[in-house]
């Protein structure tokens, strides 16, 4: 690997670095421990879980645990609910954000551009709790409570997404490319679809991953708008299950594990984009 910033290292420095690596390695195991134990407990019986020392390797009770959850609710229902919210929201958010980010990035001379850009940045400092109550009342008024619509349609307009796409488009699409497209007869919207979208695909993927994961993890808004247990998304269903069936810890842990699998798979496939997504927020 690299020699580090300090170039050639003395033996003392090498020992220090090895020490740091070992310490970090142990700490990282500690960070992973809760998730690992969740997986282990999900395969164990109730008795095994309450032993000391607790089991550290997988057992064979997973089928029974699954049956126990299935007695309470269809185990895949929350996952399907979460998908029904997260997928359309992600598609919409990525489209709306990239289009607006492109417009703000390209047409800097249009009247009102500066105002709209400032407003967009200001939305980042908008605490969501400010709109929570009236939003609930609004959803109630238009009859959207207890449906997925409030979690999808309004969420498509994300200031974070727009700001991010604005910086991303600005840093990846050279201005001359717009002019080349204009000479070639591709107008503003055509240039977006034929020229900009293909170029910013990595950015779109990153925003999509970030949106999927954060939507999957959303708690407060679903809690407020979803009343019916059959509509519950993963975090809501698990919270409820862990409260009502706490005593059956292996079943709760299995349900937890099932709720985690989709995001973990997504992360394993697209971790690079995900990290790019996290970082881009900080380069303003």
């Amino acid at each position: 690997m690299s020699k580090g910033i300090l170039g050639r290292m003395s033996n003392r420095e090498k020992r220090f670095n090895i020490g740091v690596t070992v310490a970090l390695g142990l700490l990282s195991l500690f960070f992973l421990l809760p998730i690992y134990l969740t997986a282990v407990f999900a395969t164990r019986t109730l008795n095994e879980v309450f032993q000391f020392p607790p089991p550290l390797w997988f057992g064979d009770n997973i089928v029974q645990n699954y049956a126990n959850i299935a007695n309470v609710f269809p185990p895949f229902r929350p996952i399907l609910n979460s998908l029904a919210v997260a997928l359309p929201k992600t598609v919409g958010l990525v489209l709306v954000s990239s289009l607006a980010g492109y417009g703000l990035s390209r047409y800097t001379r249009a009247p009102g551009h500066k105002t709209l850009l400032v407003v967009t940045f200001a939305t980042l400092f908008f605490p969501p709790s400010l709109a929570l109550i009236p939003f609930f009342l609004q959803m109630n008024a238009i009859g959207w409570l207890n449906t997925f619509w409030p979690l999808i349609v309004p969420a498509v307009a994300s200031g974070f997404g727009v700001v991010w796409m604005y910086t991303y488009v600005g840093s990846t699409v050279p201005r001359e490319l717009y002019e080349a497209a204009e000479m070639d007869g591709a107008g503003g919207i055509a240039a977006f679809f034929f020229v900009v979208v293909p170029i910013i695909r990595p950015g779109l993927a990153a925003l999509a991953v970030w949106t999927l994961i954060s939507t999957w993890n959303d708690f407060q808004l679903p809690l407020v708008v979803l009343g019916d247990g059959t509509k519950f998304t993963v975090p809501l269903a698990l919270t409820t299950l862990s409260t009502t069936h706490y005593s059956d810890m292996p079943a709760v842990m299995l349900a937890t594990l099932m709720g985690l699998v989709p995001v973990f798979v997504l992360f394993a496939l697209l971790s690079r984009q995900f990290i790019a997504g996290l970082t881009s927020g900080s380069v303003k």
Binding site: E176, E179, A180, E182, M183, D184, G185, P198, I199
Partner: protein, 355 residues
Amino acid sequence: MSAIELRHITKAFGAAKVIHGVDLAIESGEFCVFVGPSGCGKSTLLRMVAGLEDVTSGDLLINDRIVNNVAPSERGLAMVFQSYALYPHMTVAGNMSFGLRMTGMSKAETERRVREAAAILQLEPLLGRKPSQLSGGQRQRVAIGRAIVRQPTAFLFDEPLSNLDAELRVQMRIEIAKLHQQLGSTMVYVTHDQVEAMTLADKIVVLRAGAVEQIGRPVDLYRDPDNLFVAGFIGSPKMNMLPATVQANNSAAVGSTVARLKLVSALTPGANVTLGIRPESLGIGDDAGDVVFQFDVSVVENLGGESIVHGRLADGTVVRFAQRGDQRSRVGEVLSLRCRADDILAFDSDGRRLR
């Protein structure tokens, strides 16, 4: 019939005026170069012709039709950008055909044109590659190919060679000149490099601060500049400028050297003028002329075939002259520098040429 005509074109960004009324006619088949220092408005002017910038006032005509409000893609022009502006996600063929596809041209005709352009530019083996797999010179050729397929009224080039290294730049310059001969199309070319302007142009437009300083053939601008700015901008190394005072009989004194100027008009004795002498007009041989300056050599830049000798005249004015490689002046040497009176240009105190 002019291919492109500018009638008192101005451009303002808000309150800031950047182009102050340019009149210009570019004839069909002509290679016209806009040249000037950075910020002179040459690119803005080209972009107004292209339609990428709006014309604030005045008329822009292409083939005798006013096109102020015509979309860039409908002006029948094609542009080659400084950064090439190739679509990174499309192949070479895709880049060249995109504009044609956008106008709904048939697939067969599109393909035919792309193949034709590729043949002219020797791009055939590269048609399936992406821009990232091409060298700088190849990208440049693709950018030109994208322009050729549109069979435009005129080609617009915006500093197309400035992203290339020195060797490639010379090579591409020659290719563009050949292309102009081959296609016979109108070309408008923007550069800050006066060498490119001199070598490529049929007509040079020298711009400064949003106004035209002089329009003319390269050789005319070199031999017969209208003002100090053009005189200083065209030619390398730069023309020497010597402050002088007018004496009787249209002579001018630079220190103790007095030169009889060949002018039609009569000068007022005592007036301050500037004398312009090209470095290549100065020499140290007895046959170099009969106007003689005393010259202290301070630096010698040896370029191999020739040397540029820098030094000072007796009155302190810095002067350069070009010397063949086999005549070596030494630092600290005092020379008698000569030139012909015919080779001296004179400018008044406002920088206007005195004739």
